[in-house]
């Protein structure tokens, strides 16, 4: 016996095959088919090996814990019933693969087809092998997705695209309902595990949420299984290649809804609401599908409506709620899959060999393709319920169930009549299908000369038809054991006694069958010829599922557009105002409810120096706000003053690390903004020259000022309230106590960054790297505004001065500018780098660390650039910021990953003491390596951003000369970067 975890192999095989197939060359039709077939057979073999383990309703399970705290595990589960379904999926899948090899044209990208098909197969297997509700819903959506891709496989075809979209929207909407229903079920049962939900059937049926959960699950099942009124997507899905119709839209995917209904039948059925909803839906679908099938002129359309009708039959059986009816439902699911898949394949052959699927044009094909005709006749007879074929057996069971009284309502009385009527319709469309296509005079005006299909293409049909016959003649020997296993796994102790004999004596169901067979034949005799003239199905032809769908869809889209028109805006100012006002609301509501009070803790004494500091800082912040429009440089300096006040406050408030970092960031930000200033337009203050600004402008400014003041006052009040309250017990105690014993450092802030919360820091430096690369790539395609390209005014003046003065060359003034500071800056370079290294190494114990050190080092480099100019520096020093970034990220990640080798989780740190000669005992923590990574990333990021921006100035004079020039400059920078 196989271990349960081999189920995962079965599940993985199709997906791996799908992936492999996607990479095959476009024309590798046979190779793709062979691989798909191999994968399917391998999975099939494994599946069959599991059969002995499933006797007596046993269940094979394997669980991989994922989020046990939320009750979410990856559970594969195989019971007798899901085994039978998996057998259908893989068995018919294998036949469809063979068939598709010959059906698909060599012009189509066939490997892609097989890739989708295998992925669908995997999703379907995932659905039936899932032991967890959420997992079922996941694979359920996957089947919808791959069905969409397969229906739209011939995407150049409008009807294929429409059909695919409709199928996706319908089944995915149903999938959402199913998911919500499952969440409710899981909530009621207290677990998402299928077996625990099934065990909680009693509680579920008695719960107040039973009805909503039931309705949601049923909507999911009904949309997928094309039940009325959601059935209309299935005929439109016939735009798919015929192997897809045979596989997805008759044998497997449309049975997924049925699968769910049967799987949860023990837990959900047996109530009045189940009976009413499920059986009436099934009955309506059965009748409407059969009626519509009679009037179809398209071969596949007829089969599609017939599929709908048979799905309705199964749903009706499940709705009846008796165990015998459930047996019949399972049996008919298998039977329908065999005969309908073979009929679709036959229809595909007819389409393939004659070039049309129009019943009115087809006629007398038995002369040209006798074997296909025979096969189709047997399969159609099985569909009509002719004795000695499998369809007969399950139909007898259905008719017998229809005769039983189930509810004591009026439905009991009508059910036998309606069941016979539906069977009559079924006979009628089967006869029409066979007679119209294969008999009568030879066809005229066909697009192609009809002939028999290649043998390999017929083989799948032959196998399926043989199965129809075997099951029909020797049911107890063939399907009997499988059916027993499946039924007992679903029904458990409630498994009824049933007999699979062909002959039950002369009884009422037999009579009903006979009436249906004769009635159908007679009706065809009477009306058969008139059917060809029909455009629409009478009575229900008015039900335009598609039109309703389109109307609802466009109403939704129009509605959304309208709402966007009302509530949406593309104006940033409006968006920001709304954002801030929403924040006001979020803060204001609790404040209005609870009131505002300052806390009980007495404040610390005001230090006059601190007050003066913030008088300065506050005034410069206001001044910056005042002057940012017309005096950018002044505003920038004012912001700098406010930043310095912040920096001093940090140091004052016992945050030396923050003060240090803030100071360094202040410097690089200033350089950055100064570099940006050159590319901004001149702004003159005489815009509203001579007059005051219009009222709308003044009103807007007034409102903004009010919002800004309210915001400022609010945050001030809020922070005062916080600061005057006692500190709640937080994480800090643990961090403080463990910093040295656990992290090997005495600077708690640094230990938190590189050790306790190292993963966050890894995320931070990744963000930094991404931002730097984004800035770099944005600037590569930078096109400055025309007016900024010109030489700046100051530079022109300097050049004019150089021109006018004797003995001066153009550029001399600029070259001699600030000579002494420049020399100093150059000489400071090694000093600054040493400082950076010092900050880096001591960071674990004293203020410093990777961030501060990285900023310091990059400031050193920037100073060098400022002192010597870009070109001069790059002639001597080749900084490669991108390499710094990648090396840093690698270093940090590798340090984290190294913990794995010692059996610890990612980013666990280790530290010890190293005895160095002269220096003595030095603490070495692996966190230092991580910090070096941070350091490198920060250096790379800062330098890359600033240099990329600085480079714009030296490339701009060439910018409009030629496109090539710009491109060349960009590649140069790339080389440097």
């Amino acid at each position: 016996m196989l271990e349960a975890r081999y189920l995962l192999v079965i599940l993985a095989l199709p997906f791996l095959g799908s992936l492999a197939s996607a990479f095959l060359p476009t024309r590798a039709r046979t190779l793709a088919a062979a691989m798909a077939g191999g994968v399917t057979f391998a999975a099939l073999g494994l599946l069959i090996c599991f059969y002995p383990a499933l006797a007596d309703g046993a269940i094979v399970r394997h669980t991989i814990p994922w989020l046990p705290s939320l009750g979410l595990d990856l559970t594969v589960r195989l019971g007798g019933f899901s085994w039978l379904f998996a057998l259908l999926i893989l068995g018919i899948g294998a036949l469809v693969v063979l068939y598709a090899r010959y059906y698909m044209s060599a012009e189509d990208p066939v490997p892609r087809f097989f890739s989708f098909l295998l992925a669908f197969m995997g999703s379907m297997l995932g659905l039936v092998l899932s032991g967890n509700l959420i997992q079922i819903a996941f694979f359920w959506e996957l089947t919808s997705l791959f069905s969409f891709l397969l229906i739209g496989y011939w995407h150049h075809n409008q009807s294929a695209r429409d059909g695919a979209r409709m199928a996706l929207i319908m089944t995915a909407t149903g999938g959402v309902c199913l998911l919500v229903g499952f969440l409710l079920l899981g909530h009621i049962a207290g677990s998402y595990d299928v077996d625990r939900v099934l065990a909680a059937g009693e509680a579920i049926r008695g719960h107040a949420l039973y009805l909503p959960a039931l309705i949601l699950v049923l909507i999911g099942a009904f949309t997928k299984s094309a039940q009325f009124p959601f059935h209309f997507w299935l005929p439109h899905a016939m735009a798919a290649p015929t192997p897809v119709s045979a596989y997805l839209h008759s044998a497997t995917m449309v049975k997924a809804g049925i699968y769910i209904l049967i799987l949860f039948w023990p837990a959900l059925s047996g109530t009045e609401s189940w009976y009413l909803i499920v059986s009436t839906t099934g009955l309506a679908t059965l009748l409407i599908g059969a009626w519509a099938a009679i009037f179809q002129q398209d071969l596949k359309g007829l089969l599609a409506y017939s599929t709908i009708s048979h799905l309705g039959l199964i749903t009706l059986l499940l709705g009846l709620g008796s165990p015998l009816a459930a047996v019949a439902a399972i049996f008919h699911t298998v039977n329908h899959a065999t005969f309908k898949a073979s009929l679709f394949m036959a229809a595909g052959i007819i389409d393939h060999e004659t070039g049309t699927r129009d019943l009115r044009k087809l006629s007398g094909l038995v002369r040209f393709m006798p074997i296909t005709a025979t096969l189709a006749m047997v399969a159609a007879a099985a569909m009509a319920g002719v004795p000695l074929l499998n369809g007969f057996l399950s139909k007898e069971m259905f008719l017998a169930e229809a005769l039983e009284a189930h509810s004591g309502t009026i439905l009991d009385r009508f059910l036998p009549v309606l069941a016979t009527l539906a069977s009559t319709f079924s006979v009628l469309y089967s006869v029409r299908f066979i007679h119209q296509v294969f008999f009568g005079p030879p066809p005229v005006g066909l697009p192609r000369e009809p002939h028999e299909a290649p043998h390999w293409m017929r083989l799948p049909i032959e196998i399926l038809v043989l199965l129809c016959l075997l099951v029909g003649i020797l049911p107890a020997l063939t399907i009997g054991p499988l059916l027993t296993t499946a039924v007992s796994s679903v029904l458990g102790e409630r498994t009824p006694v049933y007999s699979l004999a062909i002959w039950h004596g002369f009884n009422l169901p037999l009579l009903m069958s006979a009436v249906a067979l004769v009635g159908g034949a007679v009706l065809y005799r009477l009306f058969g010829q008139r059917l060809n003239a029909m455009q629409n199905s009478p009575v229900i032809g008015r039900l335009k599922g598609r039109r309703t769908f389109e109307t609802v869809l466009s109403a939704i889209i129009e509605g959304a557009r309208g709402l966007r028109g009302v509530f949406g805006t593309r104006r940033q100012q409006v968006q920001l105002r709304l954002l801030v006002l929403t924040t006001f609301l979020a803060v204001g509501l609790p404040l209005a409810r609870l009131g505002y009070t300052a806390g009980p803790v007495a404040g610390t004494l005001i230090d006059p120096v601190f007050a003066v500091l913030w008088m300065l800082g506050g005034v410069s912040a206001i001044a910056a706000a005042w002057q940012a429009k017309f005096h950018r440089l002044a505003a920038l300096i004012m912001v700098g003053v406010a930043g310095l006040s912040t920096c001093i406050s940090f140091i004052w408030l016992s945050a030396p690390d923050l003060g240090l970092t803030q100071l360094l960031v202040e410097i690089v930000t200033l350089v950055l903004l100064l570099l940006g200033l050159r590319w901004l337009p001149q702004r003159r203050s005489d815009f509203w020259a001579g007059s005051i600004a219009p009222f709308s402008v003044r009103y807007r400014r007034g409102a903004d000022l009010l919002v800004a003041l309210v915001g400022g006052a609010g945050i001030a009040a809020l922070s005062y309230a916080i600061m005057t309250r006692p500190t709640p017990e937080g994480l800090s105690r643990y961090f403080m106590e463990q910093a040295y014993p656990g992290g090997g450092g005495t600077n708690v802030v640094n230990v938190i960054l590189v050790d306790f919360r190292g993963f966050d820091t890894l995320g931070e430096i990744t963000v930094l790297s991404i931002v730097a690369l984004t800035v770099f790539s944005l600037l590569r395609r930078f096109r400055p505004a025309a007016e900024s390209v010109e030489m700046p005014l100051q530079q022109k003046r300097q050049n004019a001065f150089d021109d006018a003065r004797k003995g001066n060359k153009v550029g001399d003034t600029a070259r001699h500018y600030l000579l002494v500071p420049r020399v100093t800056m150059e000489w400071l370079f090694p000093v600054i780098l040493t400082l950076a290294l010092y900050l880096l190494v001591r960071g674990h114990d004293l203020p410093g660390g990777g961030f501060a050190a990285g900023l310091t080092a990059s400031i050193g480099i920037i100073l060098l650039y400022m002192a010597n100019g870009t070109r001069a520096v790059e002639a001597r020093l080749n900084v490669r910021p991108v390499r710094w970034i990648s090396a840093g990220l690698l270093c940090a990640t590798a340090t984290g990953g190294a913990a794995w080798f010692f059996g610890h989780p990612f980013l666990s740190t280790h530290f010890s003491y190293l005895d160095l000669p002269l220096i003595g005992s030095v603490p070495v923590a692996s966190a230092l390596l991580f910090d070096i990574g941070v350091f490198a990333v920060v250096v790379g990021t800062t330098v890359l951003i600033l240099i990329a921006l600085a480079h714009q100035s030296i490339r701009s004079p060439r910018a409009n000369r030629s496109e090539d020039g710009t491109a060349q400059e960009a590649t140069e920078l790339e080389g440097k970067g």
């Binding site: 104006r571 940033q572 100012q573 404040g603 005001i606 913030w614 506050g618 912040a621 910056a624 706000a625 940012a628 920038l636 912001v639 406010a642 930043g643 912040t646 408030l653 016992s654 945050a655 923050l658 970092t661 690089v668 930000t669 950055l672 940006g676 590319w679 901004l680 337009p681 702004r683 219009p694 402008v697 903004d704 800004a708 915001g711 400022g712 945050i715 009040a717 005062y720 916080i722 600061m723 500190t727 800090s732 106590e737 005495t746 802030v749 938190i752 960054l753 919360r757 931070e764 963000v767 931002v771 984004t774 800035v775 944005l778 930078f782 505004a785 025309a786 203020p847 961030f851 800062t942």
Partner: protein, 113 residues
């Protein structure tokens, strides 16, 4: 001290908000700078004010009550560096937008007053 710091945060926020609502890109950049000062101070203030108690512990047993709360500091430290990066990104996006649209209005087109 608490009142002074609260007022400082309020002033920075008000100036930052005012600039944030302005139509010119450079104003918005400066506004974000001021706002980030305010937010960083606010977070540090949430750890309560302590002078001369930096979270540099000794190697022996530690009494957490003697030090300022290190968690807000750790949060703010990375926020400072990240805010530099985002300011740079914003600036470059705005410069590129100015190059493409020919205006430094935040919407890429002048207000139609």
């Amino acid at each position: 001290m608490e009142a002074v710091l609260a007022l400082a945060i309020g002033t920075l926020t008000a100036s930052g908000l005012w600039l944030l609502f302005r139509p010119r890109t450079f104003q918005v950049v400066l506004g974000l700078c001021l706002l980030s000062y305010a937010v960083n101070l606010f977070i540090v203030a949430a750890g309560r004010l302590r002078t001369d108690a930096p979270p540099i512990v000794g190697k022996g047993a530690v009494d957490p009550a003697q030090f300022v709360d290190p968690v807000p500091q750790a949060l703010v430290l990375t926020a400072i560096v990240i805010s530099f990066a985002t300011t740079a990104l914003l600036l470059v996006v705005l410069l590129a937008a100015r190059g493409l649209t020919g205006t430094d209005h935040v919407d890429g087109e002048e207000d139609d007053l």
